[in-house]
């Protein structure tokens, strides 16, 4: 009996100490792992934030260049036509100068309108994502080098404007990339909903990216546009998937968004 009690008690004590030690060490390991994950996520956030800042900076530079190089000379030329000497000139020459200045000012107005539309397409604000995409694709198809089309199957209720703007920017960036790098002959966008999820699928027949390429590029120092797509979709709690179509002929990009904030009715 003595041996039984002693060995039982020692056995239980060993088990108890083992259990407590296991719990402490296991938890430490888990915490270390979680901290590493958190650090990696913070690094990724910093990369995305830097990409976003850099993109904003590039956009500002582009705007500054447009205004300085195009609008500036136009207005300066108009000013030359409308100088102080104009009153001393003969009437037909005066009319000629005023007409030339008017034409230049019209060009400047058109230029500023174009810049403004490139910043915020009025179609997007007034008529929604579907119309804005169709507008964009009409212009692309009009160039004659590539055919672009869009079909929205389930868009009776518009997304809120902020969401539409983000989705439009993402699609614009994707289309820009396709135009620049893929040598595609057509782009086709479809939209549908499944339960509480909003989907946009983009197909093209050029050289595309796979999910592995996308993840690699968003983690590398380059791929500014892709990083921006990633950070924009993160704001919407959305996902993006790059893949080769089942037919292995087309590349397919799927954007997936939760629908909970869908408010504006068309």
């Amino acid at each position: 009996m003595l041996r039984l009690i002693l060995s039982g008690t020692i056995g239980m004590l060993t088990l108890a100490i083992g259990l407590i030690t296991f719990v402490i060490f296991h938890q430490r390991r888990v915490i270390r792992y979680q901290l590493t994950l958190q650090k990696m996520e913070e690094q990724q956030q910093t990369v995305l934030l830097n990409a976003s800042i850099q993109l904003q900076e590039e956009e500002r530079q582009r705007l500054a260049a447009d205004l300085h190089d195009d609008a500036g000379p136009l207005l300066a030329t108009a000013r030359l036509y409308l100088n102080e000497n104009l009153v001393n000139l003969e009437k037909p020459t005066q009319l000629e100068h005023i007409s030339a200045a008017k034409s230049i000012i019209d060009d400047a107005i058109q230029l500023i309108r174009n810049i403004s539309h490139s910043l915020m397409p009025p179609t997007l604000k007034n008529f929604g994502l579907e119309s804005a995409i169709n507008d964009l694709f009409q212009k692309i198809t009009g160039s004659g080098t590539i055919s672009a089309s869009a079909r929205f199957h389930d868009y009776q209720t518009r997304l809120v404007l902020e969401k539409e703007q983000i989705v439009f920017r993402v699609l614009q960036e994707l289309v820009n990339n396709i135009l620049k790098h893929s040598h595609a002959s057509y782009i086709h966008v479809t939209q549908n909903c499944n339960g509480e999820t909003f989907y946009i699928h983009l197909h093209h027949d050029g050289i595309g990216l796979t999910q592995a390429d996308f993840e690699k590029l968003t983690k590398s120092s380059g791929g500014l546009g892709l990083k921006n797509i990633h950070s924009r979709l993160k704001v919407l709690k959305g996902k993006i998937l790059f893949e080769k179509d089942i037919s292995q002929v087309y590349f397919k990009i799927t954007i997936e968004l939760p629908k909970e904030e869908e408010l504006v009715t068309q």
């Binding site: 009996m1 039982g8 008690t9 239980m12 259990l19 407590i20 938890q27």
Partner: protein
């Protein structure tokens, strides 16, 4: 300083337990001296076992976050209640109620393991050893694992050997109270303030 560091309900439950444990030791010692019997009677042990299990289970009730764990605790308490009623009715004549005490020890051990398991699954980043509750549960586990075999075997021990074996419970009590002291001294973490 003690009150400042032990504002949570859980610490007070265990503090109440230590007070009742101390009172029980004093009473059982007096009974042992006056009645000249080796062990105090079954009612005293039975009462202390009920108090001990009730306070420990209340501590676990405050510590468990999952509904399923609380349901399991309720089931354990029901089993304990049935065993207590059984021993009051059928085991009145024995000197030491091994069934209830051993069952209580096993249930506390199981609940302690469940608590540790729940803590392991908690995704919050903080060290388990920084919480008072952890040290209190370690005290339960050590106490129970040291005394369990003794409680099971006590009815089968000859009277002359019982006293010498009873020293194990004294060692278990010292260890348990030391670990309680560690828990009381530790500054409270967020989890300790229920």
């Amino acid at each position: 300083m003690f009150i400042k560091r032990n504002r949570g309900k859980k610490s007070w439950v265990i503090f109440l337990y230590t007070i009742s444990s101390f009172l029980f030791d004093v009473i059982s010692f007096r009974t042992y001296e006056t009645a000249e019997v080796l062990m105090p009677n079954i009612y005293l042990y039975g009462l202390f076992t009920i108090i001990e299990y009730s306070l420990f289970s209340y501590f676990f009730y405050l510590s468990f976050r999952n509904r399923s764990s609380r349901l399991f605790l309720a089931l354990c308490s029901l089993i304990f209640l049935l065993a207590t009623v059984y021993s009051i009715i059928y085991l009145r004549d024995t000197e030491f109620d091994s069934l209830t005490v051993s069952l209580s020890a096993v249930l506390i051990l199981i609940l302690s393991i469940l608590y540790l398991y729940e803590q392991l699954n908690d995704i919050k980043i903080r060290f388990i050893s920084s919480s008072k509750s952890f040290w209190l549960v370690v005290a339960f586990v050590m106490y129970v694992s040291l005394t369990l075999f003794l409680f099971i075997a006590t009815p089968h021990l000859p009277e002359e050997e019982t006293e010498s074996f009873w020293r194990i419970t004294n060692i278990a009590n010292i260890l348990k109270n030391s670990l309680f002291a560690v828990a009381f001294i530790k500054p409270p973490s967020k989890d300790d303030l229920v």
